[in-house]
């Protein structure tokens, strides 16, 4: 990380993926002008749940990758996602010595969610693994 240099909250540092919100609709992949998002998925049948429920099919994400060697930070994918799954985080600290190492997969994209300014995330979003009280985790060590 760039130590101490202030980053405005609106900074387009990296795109974070809230995986639980992604429905695999493919809109971001198709709108991206640089073709730098790749998604793989498969369909699973889910049994009926609750009273009146019916069995249904869901899309399950197998791969979500963004190639930051190609991305031009236009933000079209973030704007296009109708399901609140993509957000800007101000973190610029992911340089690499080889362009191939700039392809970041869903795990890393998910870790960046903790850096998204809390005000940018949808109200009431509960992230799996977040501490009780859904307090947004601060990047870096605590102040006191």
């Amino acid at each position: 990380m760039s130590g101490g240099y202030p980053q405005p909250e609106r900074s387009r540092g990296v795109i974070a993926l809230v995986e639980q919100n992604c429905t695999v609709c493919m809109l971001c992949v198709r709108e991206c002008p640089d073709w730098c998002i790749e998604i793989d998925s498969h369909v699973e049948r889910k049994p009926a749940e609750g009273p009146g429920g019916r069995p249904h099919s869901v899309h399950v994400l197998d791969r979500f990758a963004i190639d930051y060697g190609l991305c031009m930070y236009c933000g079209i994918c973030v704007e296009a996602c109708p399901f609140d799954a993509l957000f800007w985080a101000p973190d610029p600290g992911y340089s690499a010595l080889d362009v191939r190492d700039l392809v970041h997969e869903r795990d890393r994209l998910g870790e960046w969610v903790k850096d998204v300014p809390p005000g940018a995330l949808p109200a009431g979003l509960e992230l799996p693994g977040a501490s009780e009280g859904s307090q947004p985790a601060a990047g870096g060590p605590a102040a006191d």
Partner: protein
């Protein structure tokens, strides 16, 4: 406190200098802009620089507006004073068949590289520029790659990630915008 430029301020400086050459003044996403007739382009930028304290050349770019023409946009900012850090956009539309506007290099030396880039990418001629050599494209590159009718060859060669169908159903092959039907362009055509 520094404030953005109001349309009225921009108009007050450009109208006396340009008369009919000032086509329109407006505001877009918080920034005042003025549309200038192409033959008054150099006068407009000079008047804005000297009359509004816009001594900071921010950038110059082209936009392919299809049948409307090729647009040239310059962003000028105020380095100090009451509008410090704010600026205006000046825009002009060049005729697509022979796009030419006056160069700004004598007003802002830093415009030279931007005009070279707009020249190679859009085919816009900047009259009076000291040398419109390619800036980013390799020697001998054919065509103007930021014009909307330019076919991006790598897009024909590489599969589109948007083709993946999440339901697993296969459907008619989707083509992304800007990629011609197979066989209508490139190796398929030339090799036959």
């Amino acid at each position: 406190m520094s404030a953005p430029f109001e349309e009225a301020v921009l108009r007050a400086v450009l109208e006396p200098a340009l008369g009919e050459g000032l086509l329109e003044v407006g505001t877009a996403t918080g920034t005042a802009y003025a549309d200038i007739a192409p033959h008054r382009w150099h006068d407009a930028v000079g008047a804005a620089r000297d009359g509004l304290g816009l001594a900071w050349f921010d950038w110059l770019a082209g936009v392919d507006e299809l049948e409307e023409g090729l647009r040239v946009v310059v962003s000028l900012l105020a380095p100090d004073g009451a509008h410090r850090g704010h600026g205006v956009l000046l825009r002009t539309l060049a005729d697509r068949s022979a796009p030419q506007v006056p160069s700004l290099v004598d007003l802002f030396a830093g415009a030279a590289w931007h005009e070279r880039e707009a020249h190679e990418m859009f085919g816009i001629d900047f009259a009076g520029h000291p040398g419109l050599r390619p800036l980013l494209l390799p020697d001998g590159f054919d065509g103007h790659p930021l014009r909307k009718d330019f076919v991006l060859a790598s897009r024909v060669a590489r599969p589109w990630p948007g083709e993946h169908e999440p339901s697993g159903r296969s459907r008619r092959r989707n083509l992304p915008p800007g990629v011609p039907e197979p066989g209508t362009w490139g190796a398929g055509e030339a090799g036959s």
